[in-house]
Subunit: 200 residues, 2 copies
Amino acid sequence: MIVRVSREKMAEHRETIISSAAKRFRERGFEGISVADLMKEAELTHGGFYGHFESKEELIALAAERALRDSTAKWEKILDGAKSDPLQALADTYLSQRHCDNPGTGCIFPALGSEISRQPESVRNVVTQGLQRFVGLLGRAIKGKSPAQRRRKAIVAYASMIGGMLLARSTSDPVLCREILRTVSESLSSDGVSSNLTAK
Amino acid sequence: MIVRVSREKMAEHRETIISSAAKRFRERGFEGISVADLMKEAELTHGGFYGHFESKEELIALAAERALRDSTAKWEKILDGAKSDPLQALADTYLSQRHCDNPGTGCIFPALGSEISRQPESVRNVVTQGLQRFVGLLGRAIKGKSPAQRRRKAIVAYASMIGGMLLARSTSDPVLCREILRTVSESLSSDGVSSNLTAK
DNA sequence: ATTATCTATAGATCTATAGATAATGC
DNA sequence: ATTATCTATAGATCTATAGATAATGC
């Protein structure tokens, strides 16, 4: 049965497709879920996809943007809600077992970074903007003499969190996985790396 | 024309296929090159593949192992050949524009990490072993009070290098790309983060 | 009348296998 | 006789499009 819906409902469908893609892509990779299966999740049929988007590539860019915006919102809440050490609060969440086990709702870089580097510029432009927002946010929450130094600290902290999560998810050894998450998290404590690490 | 070759030659073919896969997978992803195209590169035909390997998955594990072993050899040379600061010597090479532009011969984690986390355990076991070797190597080359602390420093340093390369390759902005590579590299200087960063 | 969705399919691509062929290695 | 490689193809899957349908919105 063919059912044409209102414009409002169509806009909802579009949002559903993008949200679903943002989650599934992070879980399975850009090539890990087909247009047909994404449409099935939205309870629509395959062919209808091309009324919403020009191509799968366009959806990839939109889904990446969605994932980045959702993460930005989460970060803002965490950084603003932190009592003493916003970076440590973020690191605790970012490097949690929960985040490790749930790539579909997590940071795009450990989930899709390797594939993003091979995407066309349309996708990498969106990602670049999101990355700049993250660095800006984090830089404002970090201690440091100058804005330039806070920015440098933010870049290094973010890189270590992403690399830590990537390694934790790559290993098949749960002990090593936990060791990596904990070690990187503790290295970001404002007490300084050595004091915090030697304390444990 | 069908040409059966000697056992020695067959072993060479096998090596060629694995080496080619180790490079192409890092360049294009595990799904970015087909069995047929890999065999074409080795100047063999598609069907012959299954005389060498049971499946593409088996080749993925072997190619990952190859990539990890090649990187281990490179790291050993760099760490052993360094005059004063082995970690900085490694970071200079790892976070170079050259490495950024050539994923096919570089570290497997920024090139394939997101996909590795979705691979079956056969692949992730191989990767885990390679990762443990890297951490061991790096820990021996790093300054620190105890072996445990050297290991922690090694994990954090490696995570930041991987995350830095992943971000550098994800951005479409060459200025941001260079900023990330330089900033993470300088953070690994043994002078300490702040002194080195404020000096520039 | 317009258009959001559906049905059906074209065309490309991919992994894996079956059976044939011809050179190796006993 | 054994076997490394080749030819040919089965079977699955994927993106994208063409044309039909029926509800919206003027």
